[in-house]
């Protein structure tokens, strides 16, 4: 198996692109990553996208996206794994290069939520839950997170401590050019926002935005940013089927596998990107990655440790909450941001001497999770 590196990074700001079709977003990010890699062609493209069939009425999205690049003949595959589409697509793309089958692979995540009404987004998100006995109850993605949030609060943390996850993400987004919401949000503002799904406040949820992010993967050459570990895991989709609903097994299993592959421990990690689509999910991501013990994630978030100068900075460009959460593209944004940190290209967001970064990207309520570890190659 060959080692794989990230040769190019490209992304666009998460925003509402009323005047552009999904093809334009895809092509823009893809062209940027190819330019960054200094190449003008790839062997293969992976398209990560969650909701194109609902939001753009578009199936066969891989062909439609490949078409937008104007290069007939390009092999293309679309990966859909709910909100984890990006992380899972990356996992597949890495294997294409590692196996030796492809020498230059592009993985581009794209999502365009602004084409549909917010209530249809709510429905679309619930489509990532099992339909007949989970979505059947009328529960939403926020609702499931809310039930877990409540259990977590009963045992481990105050509402404010959990909410700090969202506050911290916003702090980190200040000055981020590609963030949808690059401004601070006070704890008081978040806690006084209306309930989205009790006890989750609206300002603890990621918003709706369009985006595309792209990475170029090639065989490693002991320079730049390598893929040190990559893993995907799944769990019973319904929290009712899990022994302990608070235990996000898919996150933990994927992290364990990815760390094993990277030959690292959680304590070796210099920075992390977690799936804070809801504040509680960010906290559980931190715990699942082993950055805090079970039940201690919120405490970590409330310490200086997750800040830019801290021991383990989390969501250094604002995370899903502030950078934005264009679903199927989100996992690629996370990895692009880590790549920039390891390349020393993170500008004002730069973590000094970052060597190892990890991204946690889950779908459903961690019914699927991708954990990818990137490492700065030592010359």
């Amino acid at each position: 198996m060959r080692k794989v590196k990230i040769a190019g990074v490209g992304l666009i700001r998460v925003s509402e692109y009323w005047d552009k079709p999904i093809q334009s977003l895809f092509a823009e990010a893809s062209m940027k990553s190819m330019k960054d890699a200094g190449i003008d062609a790839v062997d293969k493209v992976y398209v990560s996208n969650m909701g194109g069939s609902l939001m753009q009425d578009q199936l066969n999205l891989a062909a439609v996206m490949a078409d937008s690049l104007g290069t007939p003949g390009l092999p293309a595959t679309r990966i859909e794994a709910g909100s984890a589409s990006g992380g899972v697509a990356f996992h597949e793309a890495v294997q294409a290069v590692a196996s030796g089958y492809s020498d230059a692979v592009m993985v581009t995540g794209v999502e365009k939520l602004s084409d549909i009404l917010p209530e249809v987004v709510t429905t679309g998100l619930a489509m990532a839950e099992e339909q007949e006995y989970t979505a059947y109850t009328g529960v939403t993605k926020a609702g499931i997170a809310a039930m877990i949030h409540r259990l977590y609060m009963d045992l481990y943390a105050t509402p404010e401590e959990v909410c700090m996850m969202a506050v911290k993400s916003h702090e980190h987004a200040v000055g981020c050019k590609h963030a949808q919401y690059p401004f601070k949000m006070s704890l008081q503002r978040a806690m006084s926002s209306p309930m989205e799904a009790d006890p989750i406040h609206m300002m603890e949820c990621s918003g709706i935005g369009d985006g595309a992010a792209s990475l170029i993967l090639v065989p490693a050459d002991d320079e730049g940013v390598e893929v040190a570990g990559t893993a995907v895991s799944t769990d019973y989709t319904s929290i009712a089927a899990r022994q302990d609903p608070l235990e996000m097994k898919a996150i933990k299993t994927a992290a364990d596998r990815a760390y094993k592959m990277a030959k690292i421990k959680a304590t070796d990690i210099d920075l992390a990107e977690v799936q804070d689509d809801f504040s509680i999910n960010g906290v559980l991501g931190i715990e699942g990655l082993g950055l805090a013990k079970p039940g201690k994630g919120a405490k970590l978030v409330n310490s200086d440790d997750v800040d830019k100068e801290g021991k383990i900075p989390v969501n250094t460009f604002g995370g899903l909450k502030a950078r934005g959460n264009p679903l199927g593209a989100t996992g690629i944004y996370q990895l692009a941001e880590i790549a920039w940190q390891l390349q020393g290209k993170a500008g004002d967001h730069q973590i000094p001497d970052a060597k190892i970064g990890v991204a946690e990207n889950m779908g459903g309520m961690a019914s699927i999770c991708a954990v990818n570890v990137l490492r700065r190659a030592d010359k």
């Binding site: 209530e119 009328g138 259990l151």
Partner: protein, 130 residues
């Protein structure tokens, strides 16, 4: 709304009926093709109709088809037989729900397929009426 999908789930949803693995005795609701023990041999299992609320939320932004019921409560319920189900909890004000609330299964309308399509019925739970 798919009629075959609704029809296929009538008995489980109407009667809270799951399955029990003939090999290891694990109980499932909803049913699954393969047990965690690897067995594919199941027999019908009727779930307990009473239990208590473990955790819950109040849905304020609803998916399509549930809008008119807002605000409504969805809870994780542990039944008296140890099985867990997700369900709406009705006949109670959202702010009166609490962990440990004793609830029982009721048969209610879940969704309507517009004015012309089928009516979907199934289980919900309400505070126990003695």
């Amino acid at each position: 709304m798919s009629v075959p999908r609704y029809w296929r789930n009538e008995v489980p949803r109407y009667r809270l009926q799951g399955e029990e693995c003939s090999q290891c005795g694990a109980k499932y609701f909803p049913t699954r093709p393969v047990c965690k023990c690897g067995s594919t041999d199941f027999k019908p299992y009727k779930l307990a109709e009473r239990g208590e609320v473990v955790t819950w939320t109040t849905i304020s932004s609803a998916p399509t088809g549930f809008e008119k019921y807002v605000p409504y409560v969805v809870a994780l319920i542990e039944l008296e037989d140890g099985c867990k189900v997700l369900s709406q909890v009705v006949d109670i004000a959202p702010d009166a729900v609490e962990a440990g609330l004793k609830v029982e299964a009721v048969f209610r309308k879940v969704k309507e397929d517009g004015k012309e399509g089928i009516l979907q019925y199934g289980y919900k739970f309400r505070p126990v009426v003695e």
